[in-house]
């Protein structure tokens, strides 16, 4: 090493600032979003605790050279799977799905942490499997299995949103590698043909309803009955966003929020609250922050010194990207409603913790681009 780099040089300030900005805006927004409902009015404090804890964990994650994770990747993966299995033994059921493990004072959602474990496992696999020629379907069998195990367990809970998310993250990582055109076409065809099967056998009634409602609203065919029943959430969310206008209604002034027309305003629909109260200006700012984090994450991946770092960075970035896109799409009515949270902006301990670990990993990769 020709130059001695200080911690200050190595530290990824843009990533840090962008992450903090999203988290702070999220807490501010959460304060407004939950002010109207008595039971949740302390949620913003909870969020602050989780963010603080998350920051600690992220610092820890970033401090340890990521090559240690590479070494212990299978252990990490195994831990994730074990937690998923624990859900079925100890899980508490909320609204028909069993996603949480109660750990004394708080509850943990293993499907969240499993996403990170999956990324690390895939990074580990690809790290040891360099290819110069295009990958065939046969090459996808092992990564496919790595995906299938946690995803299957998640879908069993059932948690469609997280399951799909795992698939998208997997897909993004695989796109990073060179796939043969033939393999791509075959995969695409398989997806198309499995869709009706999934519709008939895998989806629950309420999930189908959401898709149907989404389709009806997208086509402009939603009548009052559909809006009042299965399309209610999506409709009210669009009302909130649209009625925000350019400048927004002002902090704590969103009527859709304050008069409780928004369901899950703290977990799934905080963006609607934000857009209603901060307007298009706020919308632009927040989407801009996510776009920055994603592009910055890809830049970190491109500067990574090894395949494990690159794949990990891409995986975490993909996680942020897909969660943001799916959540924004669903609150604005261009995607069906699936329970995917907005990264670091939504309320939720496990989600915050998971993403902070992810950001820690990104930071880790970023800070070690000059080392070795």
């Amino acid at each position: 090493m020709a130059t001695v780099r200080t911690f200050r040089d190595q530290f990824d300030w843009p990533l840090f600032v962008a992450t903090c900005a999203i988290a702070v805006l999220g807490v501010v927004n959460l304060y407004s979003a939950t002010s109207a409902s008595g039971a949740l009015s302390e949620a913003y404090l909870q969020q602050i605790y989780w963010l603080t804890l998350g920051a600690g964990v992220a610092t820890l994650v970033a401090a340890i050279d990521y090559r240690h994770y590479e070494r212990n990747a299978w252990i990490i993966y195994g831990g994730g799977i074990a937690l998923l299995l624990l859900v079925f033994l100890l899980g508490t059921s909320i609204r028909g799905s069993t996603r949480w493990i109660n750990l004394g004072g708080f509850s943990l959602q293993p499907s969240e942490t499993a996403k990170i474990c999956l990324i690390i496992a895939l990074a580990k696999y690809l790290h040891h499997d360099p290819k110069t020629e295009g990958r065939t379907l046969k090459d996808l069998v092992i990564p496919g299995l790595i995906l299938a195990l946690p995803m299957g367990l998640i879908l069993l809970q059932p948690d469609l949103g997280t399951g799909l998310l795992c698939m998208f993250v997997f897909g993004t990582i695989m796109v990073l590698t060179k796939l043969k055109i033939r393999s791509l076409v075959t995969l695409a065809l398989a997806f198309v043909f499995s869709a009706p099967l999934a519709w008939n056998y895998a989806l629950h009634g309420y999930q189908k309803n959401r898709v149907l409602a989404f389709w009806a609203q997208l086509m402009g065919e939603a009548d009052d009955r559909i809006i009042r029943t299965i399309g209610w959430h999506s409709h009210q969310s669009q009302v909130a966003i649209g009625s925000g206008g350019f400048w927004g209604k002002g902090f704590m002034q969103g009527t859709q929020n304050q008069f409780r027309f928004l369901p899950d305003q703290h977990s799934d629909f905080p963006f609607a609250v934000w857009a209603e109260e901060q307007g298009f200006v706020g919308t632009l700012l927040l989407i801009g922050l996510y776009a920055f984090v994603v592009v910055w994450g890809l830049r970190i991946a491109s500067t990574a010194k090894d395949r494990f770092g690159a794949v990990t960075a891409v995986g975490v970035t993909a996680l942020v990207f897909w969660q943001a896109v799916i959540n924004l799409g669903m609150v604005s009515g261009v995607l069906p409603v699936v329970g995917v949270t907005l990264p670091l902006f939504s309320y939720g301990g496990s989600s915050v913790l998971t993403l902070m670990i992810g950001i820690g990993l990104l930071m880790n990769v970023s800070m070690r681009r000059f080392s070795f």
Binding site: E70, Q236, Q256, T283, L284, S302, D306, R307, F308, V325
Partner: protein, 647 residues
């Protein structure tokens, strides 16, 4: 520490740019979508958001009050209480509690549960009207437990009440809730909503537009569950917008309820019939009495099906307004008009005498008279109601002139009273007879002349026509509403009398008719002489009538043991009083009462005595015939003179 060797990352290199580009495109699309929602479609979404949190509560208008000519209340609004339930806020045990407090029986409980179960989920947060007009005990019970039952609201709502109950029911009318068909028929512009009341008959229906007023609105902020938000919290929306309701106009009717009460009393001996009294100098209707009647208050509350069926099937037809809606053969009360038609004929001599031997032979047909009257001139024919005289008169005059004169007096056309689907009445023409009976015979004219042909008239028509006879030829339009007032009593509009037509009646002709009508009541040979009130002070004039019932016109479903009754003639009296200076005209019909002189005249004379007697005794001498000089009273004065001559 031994770390894994570095691996080749070149495989991924060229893909980062494409990924970044893709991410930027996707985020741009999302920004575009947000711009579409927040900038392009802003107005629409803002409107929906505003509608979401505002709830419009309608404030019902108070309906106008009806008063009679002397200011007595005929219809008013009494406070009543309505129970609303909000299903969302009702636990199953609450329903049982409500049923207990309301003192419901098993069937009512089941009905309540069924209604609650039928409410669709999106309406379960709404207040739903469950019970109307609860009684005092129910109100007390619910109010006591109000705090334990958040899903129950007791709301005051005015209910219509009619202090006179069944008296004048047909003319006054009643209210009840608009039906789904009404709402469809009236359309959205009419402003009616489910749960509103609407006038169903009489003045309540005819003057609905004046009585109902305009509903007001109160806009309040509500949350997603429809709960009122008391705090405005400065959402840039007026916390409460109130547009107060406009109460309906009060109406002062021309009816006199004391007169109606006295008619009711005088009619006590007869099961069915009707009476109309009009002011001869204005056409103001003082009484519209139709018997039997029904208590309008019971219809407002919603009458049990069985009770309604009983009313509908009652052979005395309580649901029919016999003063306006139904028309009858006028019988001998029609004779003055035949007489006027004859007098109008050139060369007709009213003093010419016709011999009545109890019948009149025309070909093989023997037409009956009430008795053998001997030699009668026109005046005596009216006094004694001699049919023979009018048979001869009819032969000479013909059908057309009789119809023409009847038409001048308003027969065969609607009076324009404006309520209760007024009957037009009927004047049969030569063409009509030809069409219906194949040919026209002189006998048809004869029957017409004595009111037994196919001429039909309503009591109101007859009363107005006698009013015109009494006042010297002015046919008024009937007036039921004297003035329109604001709820606070200020006058909106005084409705002036309206003249339908002035009929030119030569004075000497009028004198003959007036004299005949005076004689019928006040001369010993008069058909109504026996009916005079003992010790009465009011001198009336009038004509009796006994209208035969056409064969086959009675109802077939009658109990044969009662059928004889429904074959009896209708008894009529039509006249006016005081004879010297007429104030009111009266028509009495006693259905199946038999002879007019025996059944109808006593009622009429009694009512006139009650109504005018008191006033006559206190009236200043200025109204006495001697000092009066108007042409109208001239005719009347001559009447009394000729009457004394005839004696």
């Amino acid at each position: 520490m031994q770390l894994s060797p570095r691996r080749e990352v070149g495989e991924f290199r060229k893909r980062y740019k494409w990924m970044a580009l893709t991410a930027i495109v996707v985020f741009s699309l999302l920004v575009g979508r947000m711009a579409q929602l927040q900038l392009v479609q802003y107005d629409e979404w803002a409107r929906i958001a505003r509608e979401n949190i505002t709830k419009t509560i309608s404030l019902p208008a108070t309906r106008g009050i009806l008063r009679d000519a002397r200011g007595r209340i005929i219809a008013e609004n009494r406070p009543s209480y309505v129970v609303y339930l909000t299903p969302q806020l009702l636990a199953p045990e609450d329903v049982a509690r409500v049923a207990e407090l309301m003192n419901l029986d098993e069937a009512e409980r089941a009905a309540l549960q069924r209604r609650l179960d039928e409410i669709p989920s999106h309406r379960r947060t709404h207040q739903i009207e469950m019970f109307g007009d609860i009684d005092r005990e129910q109100l007390a019970a619910l109010e006591t437990h109000r705090t334990d039952l958040p899903g129950v609201d007791v709301v005051p709502k005015p209910a219509r009440t009619y202090p006179y109950g069944h008296l004048g029911a047909h003319a006054v009318g009643y209210l009840n809730e608009v039906s789904a068909e009404d709402l469809e028929r009236l359309g959205a512009d009419a402003g009616y909503r489910a749960g509103d009341v609407i006038g169903r008959m009489g003045v309540e229906k005819g003057w609905e537009a004046y009585l109902r007023g305009h509903r007001g609105y109160r806009r309040v902020l509500v949350d997603a569950r429809g709960r009122r938000q008391r705090e405005a919290r400065g959402f840039g929306i007026a916390h409460e917008e109130v547009e107060p309701p406009t109460p309906g106009h009060d109406l002062v009717l021309t009816l006199d309820m004391e007169l109606m009460t006295s008619i009711e009393r005088a009619f006590a001996g007869h099961p069915s019939g009707s009476v109309v009294v009009v002011d001869v100098n204005s056409g103001r209707v003082r009484a519209l009495y139709s018997k039997p009647s029904y208590n309008v208050n019971s219809l407002v509350a919603g009458m049990p099906q069985a009770d309604y069926a009983a009313l509908r099937d009652d052979p005395f037809r309580p649901l029919i307004d016999k003063t306006i809606y139904e028309s009858y053969f006028p019988g001998s009360t029609f004779k003055p008009f035949s007489a006027l038609a004859a007098l109008d004929q050139p060369g007709f001599d009213p003093n010419h005498r016709v011999e009545c031997i109890g019948y009149y032979q025309i070909g093989t047909d023997r037409k009956r008279c009430t008795s053998a009257h001997g030699e009668v001139d026109m005046r005596h024919a009216l006094v004694q109601s001699c049919n023979t005289y009018f048979y001869v008169l009819a032969e000479r005059v013909g059908l057309e002139p009789i119809n023409t004169w009847a038409r001048r007096f308003g027969f065969g056309e609607r009076t324009g009273v404006g309520i209760n689907s007024e009957a037009r009445g009927f004047l049969a023409t030569r063409e009509w007879y030809t069409e219906h009976f194949g040919r026209f015979r002189v006998g048809d004219t004869m029957n017409t002349a004595i009111g037994q042909g196919n001429t039909r008239a309503t009591l109101l028509q007859l009363a107005l026509s006698y009013g015109a006879l009494a006042n010297g030829g002015t046919l008024y339009r009937p007036q039921l509403i004297e003035s329109i007032r604001e709820a606070d009593g200020t006058l909106v509009e005084e409705l002036p009398p309206q003249v339908a037509r002035r009929i030119a009646i030569p004075e000497e002709h009028a004198q003959i008719i007036a004299s005949g009508l005076f004689g019928a009541v006040n001369e010993q040979s008069g058909t109504a002489y026996e009916a005079r009130v003992v010790g009465g002070t009011v001198v009336a004039a009038g004509k009796t009538g006994t209208a035969e019932i056409q064969r086959g016109s009675t109802r077939r479903d009658l109990d044969p043991r009662r059928a004889w009754y429904f074959q009896r003639s209708h008894a009529w009296f039509a006249g006016y009083a005081p004879a010297s200076d007429p104030e009111v005209a009266i028509v009495v019909l006693v259905e199946h009462g038999g002879g007019g002189g025996r059944a109808a005249a006593p009622i009429a004379l009694r009512v006139l005595q009650d109504y005018l007697g008191e006033r006559t005794s206190v009236s200043p001498p200025a109204t006495s015939p001697a000092t009066s000089s108007t042409p109208r009273t001239n005719a009347a004065r001559t009447t009394s003179t000729s009457a004394s001559e005839g004696r």
